[in-house]
């Protein structure tokens, strides 16, 4: 099953929601809000949701986008779900490290590795 908004695509694979970004730059506040709404909808629609967010298409990410992922993780935790991030380019990975968000997210090199880490 696949669904898409203008900014992300959502694919359901063996009970796991795979999220890919359409845009290379996740900077615009309106777009970021739309992405947030879409992702929250996925979480709310499932019991103990499992989600893998794939960043391989993303070149730039703003602090507002980081905020969306923090809010997403908080919501996922409250729903007893599991969130994984993967395929983050080195420069964006560095930004996760600078903000120490790499300590609260489960980040993996590949989609397969992220899926394997899910319980």
């Amino acid at each position: 099953m696949a669904a898409s908004s203008s900014h992300i695509s959502i694919r359901k694979i063996d009970g796991i929601s795979r999220i890919d970004f359409v845009d290379r730059n996740i900077l615009d506040e309106v777009n970021i809000h739309q992405i947030s709404v879409e992702l929250m909808k996925v979480i709310e629609s499932e019991f103990r949701p499992k989600m893998v967010v794939v960043f391989n298409n993303v070149d730039h990410l703003s602090s507002a986008a980081f905020g969306v992922f923090v809010a997403l993780k908080n919501r996922m935790d409250s729903r007893d779900g599991q969130l994984r991030l993967c395929e983050i380019k080195p420069r964006i990975r560095e930004a996760f490290a600078i903000t120490k968000l790499d300590r609260i997210f489960s980040i993996h090199d590949s989609f397969d590795a992220a899926v394997k880490s899910l319980n």
């Binding site: 506040e29 602090s63 905020g67 930004a95 300590r103 609260i104």
Partner: protein
Amino acid sequence: MSEPATVFEREYTLHDLRTGLEEVHEDVASALSAHRYDEGAAFAIRLAIEEAVVNGFRHGNRNDPSKVVFFRVRIDDRSSCFEVEDQGPGFDPKAIPDPTDQFNIEMPSGRGVMLIRAYMTEAEYIPPGNKVRMIYRKPA
């Protein structure tokens, strides 16, 4: 050996978040390339400009559509300087909670200033705090 590129200097008046900002990003990227800044520098500078301008509109001008953000840039072969000035009352950057503190780490906002400081060589908030001057120096 080729001639050094001409110093790039320009001022912009931004009326909202997207109008004009793409032009800024394009002009700056082009000037950085002409002055042989590498991809890492271009990434850092784009991120810092984006964060500073967003902060100017959102926190400085409080999204007031009658207010603008001024952006000034100077790029040469060794360093680049960017000034972002909003029309708000200013703020004390020391008052921003540390977003990496364990009690703040799960807060969804408050990381923009930290990213600016991390990616730029210098970032100075000029009192009353409605103007930030950001300098990037190429590594020696």
